[in-house]
């Protein structure tokens, strides 16, 4: 495959994911509104917001690291997405999954977070590091059940290669990890709640206490970059979960496969949306203790389950 074709494929893949991710955000806002008994913003509101923030004609920058923070963040989102094969068997959507396996994806997630944390840190606003300190602290704990669940997968499928994991789940719906290793899925889904930073784990952004937390100083195009990443990165995470636990998206027709992906990721996302709509927010230490209690035990149980039974 020539570089140009690959580049073209990657661009297509990224654009699809970004649009999907942002639209998903819009849909979710609509759903929230309906739950509240409102009309809610139009589904395309996230796109308008991004255009508008990009269209701001003045911006402020606190320094080079601040400038690069959103870049890091988006690069993290892009990279995470690009290391995941989105659609099983598709060349266009295979991205750069040749570069590494599941571990690479798991660690590349941190790339954006770290860069953003540094950029926000240079902003000089105390709320940024407060939010980051909370976010990182929470991250250390929700990563534990997820990591345990991934280890269980690695034992189960004897590989860390995402494509292979997806391949192993093909054939029947009963081959999905959801059914072959439900404990691992439970652990991972709980940690997904933390990853998505929906309530009850939304203390990082806590608009009331520390207005919006880390990105408080972010403005104009910086903010737009972050918003773009929110769509893309969200989609990447969901695609990862779909691949690992819900059989991935595979169909001979690429559009059907995309539809399958959209359907599956939507359902996965709805899970955290429902939980978020139903539960109030945890305090930081509560959420940390929570993740290290039941989800971790479930994760350990899933490992023991696949390793020894």
């Amino acid at each position: 495959m020539s570089i140009t074709t690959k580049a073209l494929y990657v661009i297509i893949s990224v654009i699809v994911a970004t649009i999907y991710g942002l639209a998903l955000n819009g849909v979710v806002r609509k759903i929230y509104a309906r739950v509240h008994g409102r009309f809610g913003p139009p589904v395309w509101q996230p796109f308008i917001d991004i255009i508008k923030t990009h269209g701001n004609n003045v911006a402020i920058s606190h320094g080079i690291m601040y400038y690069l923070g959103p870049v890091f963040r988006l690069a993290g989102g892009l990279g995470t997405y690009l290391f995941i094969p989105v659609i099983f068997g598709s060349v266009v959507f295979s991205n750069f999954s040749l570069a590494g396996d599941l571990l690479l994806v798991m660690y590349f997630i941190f790339f954006g977070q770290l860069g953003m944390a540094l950029g926000a840190g240079e902003g000089g606003h105390p709320y940024s590091p407060i939010g980051i300190a909370r976010g990182l602290a929470q991250m250390t704990t929700f990563e534990v059940p997820f990591a345990l669940s991934v280890i269980a997968l690695a034992i189960q499928y004897n590989t860390l290669n995402i494509t292979t994991i997806v391949a192993a789940q093909q054939g029947s719906i009963l081959n999905w990890t959801l059914f072959t290793n439900p404990l691992a899925v439970v652990a991972a889904m709980i940690s997904l709640l933390g990853m998505n930073m929906h309530s009850p784990f939304s203390i990082v952004l806590a608009p009331q206490e520390i207005p919006i937390g880390p990105p408080i100083e972010m403005n104009s195009s910086f903010l737009a970059t972050l918003q773009t990443n929110r769509g893309l990165f969200g989609a990447a995470k969901l695609v990862l979960f779909m691949n690992l636990y819900f059989g991935g998206a595979a169909h001979a027709n690429i559009f059907v496969a995309l539809l399958i992906m959209i359907l599956k990721t939507f359902i996965i996302y709805m899970f955290s949306v429902f939980v978020g709509a139903a539960y109030p927010r945890f305090r930081p230490e509560q959420s940390m203790r929570f993740f290290l209690k039941w989800p971790t035990l479930i994760g350990i149980a899933s490992i023991l389950f696949v390793a020894y039974f």
Binding site: S61, M65, G79, L98, P126, A133, S221, E285
Partner: protein, 1042 residues
């Protein structure tokens, strides 16, 4: 050839004449005194030379014209000559030390002194039991009198106690003689020895017991030695050193002479008693704060050890060489060091070790003090070290494990109090007034003894163990740099770099695979790091010497050809590290903790090496270890020793203090290079283990230990305010990764371990150097006092940024490679839960890394740092070098993966496939180069996008923040830094309670309390002491079981 009998005669004659000579003036009598003493030394030197180098047979001197056993006969052999040479030398030197005192005191002092020396000479030479008694009495009486030379109440009372003890032992000795005469009809030692069958029955043994026990009591066994301690404390230092050294030597020789009388099966009692004395005296020693009493306990302990060594070697009938190294080593070590130290206490005249900071003002004296103290603590290259080495081997080969344990624990106690003393001398908070200039007459004896100590050490190293010159390099470096002290620091640094380069070049041919990797870290890494120290100004004496010592001994580790050479260099390294830590501003306590833990580790290793089979090989042990099966006990002991160096969980107490309090530009050495020696050791053991795997696998547990170290280290690091402590705990955590991956004992695991080692070496070095630069500029280690320094120190910031990305394992930098290898290898091996723990630990590492980089470089710049400049160029050079290193192996992972693959290929069959830049394991794949390319791509695209789409971008300053519609008051209140992870502490801080610290604290408290308890038996009451002696004899008799 002068007949040694003239020594006795001359001493007596001059002794009697002195009263008359003194009428002509004290000068003349002093002349005669020194004349006689010098004569003694000269005679003994000639004889010693004759015996040792010309090979003369030993000399029998018959008195009164008859042949023994009818007359008294004297014997002068190699041993006698050796002991007497030392004793007479000590006598002469002590007299010299006492020059002022002898000038003023009554003439009887001089006479007594002469008589005492005469007694010693006689005692050593005589072969007649009754004559022995006579000489003992001569010795004792002159000693009683000399004790009270200072004419104060305490010395009188001490003398009296000494007299009581002496009296009672003499009585027993006499009783013994009577019995022996009754049974054998003879008192000549040789004859009695020849007829020892006549003494084989119970009463015979009892009579010998009486004889020996009285001598033994004179050697002050625990606990029947209260009288001696008062003497040590109360008496003039010159006399004390004579009593502690010369008298003891003579009595010890008597003990040695009559010991063969006792049947072999009873000797163990004395071995036991000696070791008990050693252990408990040292235990009580840790309570002492009076240097003379402290030395007293040390003396008693050392004598106990010598007695044990002599008794044991006599029992085993081992080769004369070993006896000399083992018993003689301890003896000569004790003899020289103790005499010297007692003299120094006489010079300093401070009765609290806390007040010894005054010593700092006199560099030569401090140097002498240091050498003697290190010798006494049994560190290499001094004779005590070799003795302990041989002792460990012999004890282990004869299954005397309890004895070995007791000796090693005792040694640790001794080292602890000695180094505490040393610490007070080198460092304490107080300002000291300057020391009065020391008289040459007082300095000279000490210098002579130090010189002899050194010469003996060198002699042992060359003649007995036949070490290469390369093993001398660390010590040579210290002395070389001491001689070049007048040079400027920069010049010395350049010199040090040249030395390191030359050294690296010279050992390069000796290295293969694994060695080269560690060679890069130990030697090249050190060379780069020395550049950092070039920032120092002035002469900074005593720094580069120790630095070179550390570097060279680390280099020697990888090419060591025998266990002894390995251990020797290991100890050199420890000493150098100790001295470097001690240089720090508040280095006293951390250095003491460090040396205590290190020596504990060293003693464990010593015991471990005791279990090892002897290897004679022309290749480095790291290459030959595979063919040696390490016994399990040795393995565990060695692993424990190495784990202390690599700061594993439970043994990590020393690490924060040592890293934090060492000077800022030295800490990188510790964190990035020195800590790898422990890993090297682990690999050493592991290589042997994989070739001879046994049923019990300690490495499985080591893996867990590594995991716990990783997580606990990360937690502890998270809650530090002090940046260096944070990084220290981070090191502990990272070393936990390495320990665990070494313990995997698999191909991928070891690649991971070596990759981590190299990676940790680079990022820890660059972070610590950058931090050193920051501390240098801001003058504080507290992170919350900094902030916003990115604008002032951009290069340091970039270094730290790249460093933390490499630590945390975020792609695309090299850290991810290590994480990928680690998890892949763990999952491959089936260590699932451990892998989970490591995931958690690497998550927590984000916390402390972010905390470090944010609170120092981001956020609000403080007023006081408005004019801070970028770190000096010397700090930046190493940083840039390491950045390039990290970037190179990140971009082109094959640079490192391929060599590692081939290195580890020597031990395991390869389980990975390398295809271009793609590394495939059994579980997954990783293409470092592609990751880097993709990352750069996805980074550049948004950046260009942002630059294009941003409108007018105004660069603003630190206070232009939305502060809830207020304006920030001051940078201090706006910077979020202090107690950054309080919420995390609330949730999980319970895990960081200093349980381990508390454990070790209580260990030290308990030792102190027990020591205090035992110390109480010394009431200071003469009658009690008498009771002790009698009871002791009874107990010993019961143990003897005759």
């Amino acid at each position: 050839m002068v007949n040694p009998i003239y020594i006795l005669i001359l001493s007596l004659v001059i002794g009697f004449l002195l009263t008359i000579i003194d009428k002509a003036g004290r000068k003349l009598s002093l002349f005669f005194l020194y004349g006689v003493l010098s004569f003694n030394v000269a005679v003994m030197f000639i004889w010693f030379y004759q015996f040792a180098f010309v090979g003369r047979a030993s000399l029998m001197i018959h008195t009164a014209g008859f042949i023994a056993p009818i007359s008294i006969n004297l014997k002068l052999g190699l041993l006698e000559a050796f002991v007497l040479l030392l004793a007479n030398l000590a006598g002469l030197m002590s007299a010299m030390f006492l020059f002022k005192k002898l000038k003023e005191t009554h003439i009887s002092g001089l006479i007594l002194y002469l008589v005492l020396i005469m007694g010693v000479n006689g005692l050593v030479m005589t072969r007649d039991l009754f004559n022995m008694f006579v000489f003992i009495e001569i010795l004792s009486i002159s000693t009683y009198a000399l004790i009270s030379i200072d004419e104060n109440k305490r010395s009188f009372s001490a003398g009296f106690k000494y007299m009581i003890a002496g009296g009672i032992t003499s009585t027993f000795f006499l009783l013994g003689i009577i019995f022996i005469y009754y049974f054998t009809g003879n008192l000549n030692l040789d004859t009695v020895l020849g007829n020892s069958s006549m003494l084989a029955m119970k009463t015979g043994v009892f009579s010998i017991f009486l004889l020996i026990v009285s001598i033994f009591i004179e050697l002050k066994p625990f606990p029947a030695n209260g009288w001696a301690l008062d003497v040590y404390q109360a008496v003039n230092s010159g006399i004390t050193s004579v009593i502690a050294v010369v008298n003891s030597a003579a009595i010890l020789f008597v003990f040695y002479k009559i010991l063969p009388l006792l049947p072999d099966q009873y000797l163990m009692v004395f071995v036991g008693a000696g070791i008990v004395t050693f252990l408990f005296s040292n235990l009580i020693g840790i309570k002492q704060t009076d240097p003379k009493r402290l030395l007293g306990y040390s003396s008693i302990a050392q004598m106990g050890l010598v007695v044990a060594a002599i008794s044991y070697t006599t029992k085993l009938n081992i080769s004369q060489d070993l006896v000399f190294i083992m018993a003689g080593g301890i003896f000569i070590n004790h003899f020289l060091a103790k005499a010297g130290l007692f003299w120094i206490t006489g010079i300093i005249k401070r009765s609290e070790i806390k007040d010894w900071g005054i010593l700092r003002n006199n560099t030569p004296l401090l140097l002498l003090f240091g050498v003697l103290l290190f010798a006494l603590a049994g560190l290499p290259p001094f004779p005590g070290f070799w003795a302990k080495w041989e002792m460990a081997k012999i004890f282990v080969s004869n299954n005397l494990y309890v004895g070995l344990a007791a000796v090693l624990i005792g040694s640790l106690f001794e080292a602890f109090y000695l180094f505490r003393w040393f610490g007070y001398a080198i460092k304490n908070e107080r300002k000291e007034e300057s020391l009065k200039p020391v008289d040459f007459s007082q300095l000279f004896p000490v210098a002579v003894f130090v010189l002899i100590t050194l010469l003996t050490s060198v002699w042992i190293m060359i003649r007995v163990y036949a070490f290469d010159l390369i093993n001398f390099l660390p010590v040579a470096a210290v002395f070389g740099m001491y001689l070049l002290n007048f040079l400027k620091a920069k010049l010395k640094a350049v010199l040090a770099i040249i030395v390191v380069i030359l050294y690296g070049y010279s050992i390069y041919p000796l290295e293969t695979a694994l060695q080269s990797l560690f060679g890069i870290i130990f030697v090249i890494g050190s060379g780069i790091m020395i550049i950092t120290t070039m920032n120092r100004k002035g002469k900074i004496s005593g720094f580069y010497g120790f630095l070179l010592m550390m570097i060279l001994s680390m280099g020697n580790l990888i090419i060591a050809k025998s266990f002894l050479s390995f251990f020797l260099n290991w100890e050199f390294m420890t000493i150098a590290a100790y001295l470097l830590i001690l240089r720090g501003k508040k280095g006293q306590v951390p250095a003491l903790t460090f040396i205590t833990f290190s020596l504990a580790g060293a003693y464990l290793m010593l015991a471990g090496f005791g279990f090892m089979p002897n290897v004679l090989s022309s290749n480095a042990i790291i290459n030959t270890i595979g063919s040696i099966e390490i016994p399990l006990a040795a393995m565990i002991l060695l692993l424990l020793g190495f784990l202390i160096k690599s700061a594993s969980f439970g043994l990590h107490i020393w690490i924060p203090g040592a890293y934090a309090e060492a000077e800022d530009d030295v800490t990188p050495f510790f964190a990035s290079i020195f800590s790898k020696t422990g890993i090297f050791g682990l690999l050493l053991v592991a290589i042997s283990f994989i070739k001879h795997s046994s049923e019990f696998n300690p490495f499985y547990w080591l893996g867990w230990l590594g995991a716990i170290s990783a997580i606990v280290g990360a937690f502890l690091a998270t809650f530090q305010e002090d940046v260096k402590k944070l990084m220290a705990y981070s090191s502990m955590s990272q070393l936990g990764y390495i320990i665990a991956s070494v313990s995997l004992l698999s191909h991928l695991g070891w690649i991971s371990a070596l990759y981590l080692t190299l990676n940790h070496f680079m990022f820890k070095a660059m972070i610590f150097v950058a931090i050193a630069g920051v501390i240098h500029r801001t003058g504080t280690r507290q992170m919350y006092k900094m902030g916003g320094l990115i604008k002032k120190m951009p290069i340091s910031y970039i270094t730290v940024l790249i460093g933390i990305i490499a630590v945390s394992g975020v792609p695309p930098l090299s850290g991810f490679g290590s994480k990928w290898l680690l998890y892949s290898s763990m999952l491959e091996k089936g260590w699932y839960l451990q892998a989970g723990v490591f995931f958690f630990a690497s998550g927590v590492s984000f916390l402390y890394l972010y905390r470090m980089i944010h609170t120092i470089f981001l956020g609000q710049l403080k007023y006081e740092h408005q004019n801070v400049k970028e770190a000096p160029i010397y700090f930046l050079i190493p940083q840039v070098i390491f950045i390039m290193g990290i970037m190179a192996i990140s971009m082109f992972p094959n640079l490192i993966i391929k060599p590692l693959n081939s290195i580890v290929g020597n031990y395991f069959a390869s389980t990975i496939m390398i295809d271009g830049y793609n590394v495939t394991s059994s579980l997954g794949h990783w293409n470092g180069n592609m990751v880097m390319m993709v990352t750069m791509g996805v980074f550049i695209v948004p950046l260009v996008f942002l630059i294009l789409f941003n409108g007018r971008t105004q660069k603003v300053k630190q206070f232009n923040i939305v502060f809830a519609a207020e304006r920030p008051e001051s940078p201090q209140t706006t910077h979020f830094a202090h107690n950054m992870f309080s919420h995390y502490y609330k949730a999980l801080g319970g895990l960081t309670k200093p349980r381990i610290q508390n454990f070790w604290n209580s260990v030290s408290e308990w030792s102190n309390a027990i020591a205090g308890l035992f110390r109480q038996i010394y009431t200071g009451n003469g009658q009690t002491y008498l009771l002790h002696i009698l009871l002791y004899i009874v107990v010993l008799y019961i143990f003897l079981g005759v």
